[in-house]
């Protein structure tokens, strides 16, 4: 145990360098800045729209219309007193207004005669950023005004009818059914809540696997580059302890890195998904689409085994590394094996995939935690337990092969050369 602790401590000391800490801090700061920036943009969107208004109609109807519009809330009307649209545009530009609303002559008359009256909006674009284009908000207000005026007209024409019913003769009531539970709600809204729950887990997993794989391969590469492996292998310590010690040391460092990374990423995600409503969350809870403590335990086990599998696979690949540079290339197959299920399962459910793709996904150990995160929400335990058993077998087999190789000459003589592969091809 003492030897094992000694090995783990050394691994961590070797892997945690100032360069590594600095790059991690940089990444977290970047996420923080991005989160603040996006949050700031949303705040900007919530601010009232400022619009310049030119009223060429000058009737009491158009005056009232502009007054009512300003009372709708999220808009501030700045009147421009000019005789033509062109001059008003010049004035608006000088005032650095972003939108000019022009009420043309005849507007009031058309409204009075129950004919469609035109309004003109000019968006003064200086940049193509989201914050720079605010015309959409003004149109929303105009739409509200349109609806309100239509309701008034209907009430005038048919005073004995309910204006709202005439305007919308068909009403819909939406329900979502999960298992034996039926709850009022919208499936799109539901999806947005569930996805925000299940997307974080694969992202955390992807980062943890990539970091831990990289750490363990780098560790092997460093042993070979620094020519320390030979000495290590002649120490009075079991080869299995060396293998597991390296894996545990790398896993601890990788988990620290993932944790720090996730703090930054979590902040960033929370700043872009803060719009998910409380009603939607309540619907999800009512439908029972919330993980139980048993589900969390299973998910944790699945997560842990995926990292263990990644570590053991990386260790196997690391045996062929000559130095840290080649070690980083060796990490590529692991990254691809992690990315493939991540992207496929992000858009599709495993059950809806063609058989061949489904088999491939089930064979890749790193698919299972992502599958688990989705199926456990629906309390479907069997595929998760199967996945856990498969990953456990996979990891044990890979660790066994590693330990076997550590006991042979291959640990010192194993080489992998891309040049040799090319020649063979």
């Amino acid at each position: 145990m003492n030897n094992f602790y000694n090995l783990v401590k050394k691994e961590m000391k070797e892997l945690i360098t100032w360069q590594m800490i600095l790059s991690l801090v940089f990444m977290v700061v970047m996420f923080g800045i991005m989160g603040r920036f996006i949050g700031g943009m949303e705040e900007e969107q919530k601010k009232p729209v400022e619009a310049a208004v030119l009223n060429l109609d000058k009737t009491s109807i158009s005056d009232n219309f502009i007054k009512n519009m300003a009372q709708q809330g999220n808009v501030q009307m700045n009147t421009i007193d000019e005789s033509t649209t062109e001059r008003a545009l010049e004035e608006a530009k000088q005032r650095e207004e972003k939108i000019l609303l022009v009420v043309p002559g005849g507007f009031g008359k058309n409204i009075e005669e129950k004919r469609a009256a035109e309004l003109e909006t000019y968006s003064i674009v200086k940049g193509l950023s989201l914050a720079g284009i605010r015309g959409g908000s003004l149109l929303e207000i105009i739409n509200t005004m349109n609806r309100q005026m239509a309701l008034n007209f209907i009430q005038e024409i048919a005073p004995d009818k309910e204006a709202k019913d005439v305007m919308n003769p068909i009403k819909t009531r939406e329900f979502v059914v999960v298992g034996d539970k039926t709850v009022p709600g919208n499936p799109v809204m539901l999806w947005s809540v569930v996805i925000s729950q299940s997307i974080m887990i694969p992202v955390i997993l992807m980062m943890a696997i990539m970091y831990s794989g990289m750490m363990v391969i780098t560790s092997m590469g460093m042993e070979k580059e620094n020519k320390t492996l030979e000495t290590l292998l002649t120490l009075p310590v079991k080869r299995t302890s060396i293998v597991v010690g390296k894996m545990v040391g790398a896993a601890i460092v990788a988990l620290i890195m993932t944790g720090v990374y996730m703090i930054g990423f979590g902040y960033y995600i929370s700043s872009i998904t803060s719009g998910v409503g409380e009603a939607a969350t309540a619907t999800v809870k009512e439908l029972g689409l919330v993980m139980s403590s048993a589900s969390y335990l299973l998910l944790g086990t699945s997560f842990f085994l995926a990292i263990l599998t990644a570590l053991s696979l990386s260790m196997l690949l690391g045996l062929f590394a000559q130095d840290t540079k080649s070690a980083q290339t060796m990490n590529l197959p692991i990254v691809l094996l992690v990315m493939f299920p991540f992207f496929v399962l992000m858009f599709k459910d495993v059950e809806n995939l063609p058989l061949a793709l489904k088999v491939i996904l089930y064979l890749i150990p790193f698919s299972h935690p992502t599958i688990a995160a989705k199926t456990l929400i629906f309390h479907n335990y069997l595929p998760v337990i199967g996945g856990v058993a498969y990953m456990a077998l996979f990891a044990v087999a890979a660790i066994y092969i590693c330990a076997r190789i550590f006991n042979t000459d291959k640990i010192l003589t194993a080489r992998f050369s891309f040049r040799r592969v090319k020649k063979r091809v």
């Binding site: 460093m222 000495t231 292998l233 120490l235 079991k238 010192l412």
Partner: protein, 240 residues
């Protein structure tokens, strides 16, 4: 003679290439035994097999009675191996490195402290022992590695080109150190292509070339046999 090392008909193949073609030699406890030969003769391979790093293809090796194939763990408890091109962990300080290594040979913190103190003394790097290994010169790293190999008072020290990369003064210090350890009971098996070093250090030597042992004996015996002045000339006569 109490046998520390007993190598019998050792053969080592790398795939189709036979690096060692059946060598036998013995070394007694407290003896300094040298494997002498040119580059590519099979010295390093022999030392790696004896150190349990490589597997025996044919033949047998016993270290203090333990078989290197069947009782590798027991053998590793008796030996300390210094490879020719060894390095140390670059992100650790010299002292951290010695502490890490001492951890495998000590039962408690007091014992570990004593081992490290001895290592620091052997390395004689003064204040630089607290600096990172990545800042050391080749000679400083070699001294640190030799300190690591000897600080644990191994029963058998296997040293592959122990003075490789060291200047004359450092080499002399190291040779004296090896001699003093042997006097205190440590058996030393070393390889070298520096014939003068071998003559100064070794009680007995084996001349090895192309995977075969040509001669074994004390430097004096071999010089007398070939009627020459030094081991270099013995080697030249033996390979004729």
């Amino acid at each position: 003679m109490d046998k520390a090392i007993e190598v019998k008909n050792l053969i080592k193949d790398y795939g189709n290439f036979r690096a060692i073609k059946g060598i036998s030699f013995q070394a007694g406890k407290g003896e300094i035994f040298g494997l002498i030969g040119p580059n590519g003769a099979g010295k390093t391979t022999a030392l790696r097999v004896i150190s349990t790093l490589l597997q025996v293809t044919l033949g047998s090796i016993k270290i203090f009675g333990y078989d290197v194939t069947r009782e590798a763990d027991k053998v590793r408890e008796c030996i300390s191996y210094l490879p020719e091109e060894a390095g140390a962990y670059k992100n650790l300080s010299g002292k951290d490195y010695l502490e890490f290594m001492a951890g495998f040979y000590s039962k408690n913190s007091e014992e570990k402290k004593n081992i490290v103190e001895k290592g620091v003394k052997i390395a004689s790097l003064d204040k630089r022992i607290k600096d990172k290994v990545s800042t050391y010169s080749k000679g400083m790293t070699r001294r640190l590695l030799l300190a690591r190999a000897l600080m644990i008072n191994p029963r058998l020290a296997i040293l592959d080109e122990p003075t490789s990369g060291l200047d004359v003064i450092n080499s002399q210090q190291i040779r004296r150190l090896i001699k003093s350890f042997a006097k205190n009971g440590t058996t030393v098996l070393l390889s070298s292509h520096n014939m003068l070093e071998v003559e100064f250090l070794c009680d007995r030597i084996s001349l090895i070339d192309k995977g075969l042992i040509l001669e074994t004996g004390s430097p004096k015996e071999l010089k007398d046999k070939y009627q020459v002045q030094n081991i270099e000339e013995v080697f030249m006569e033996a390979v004729k």
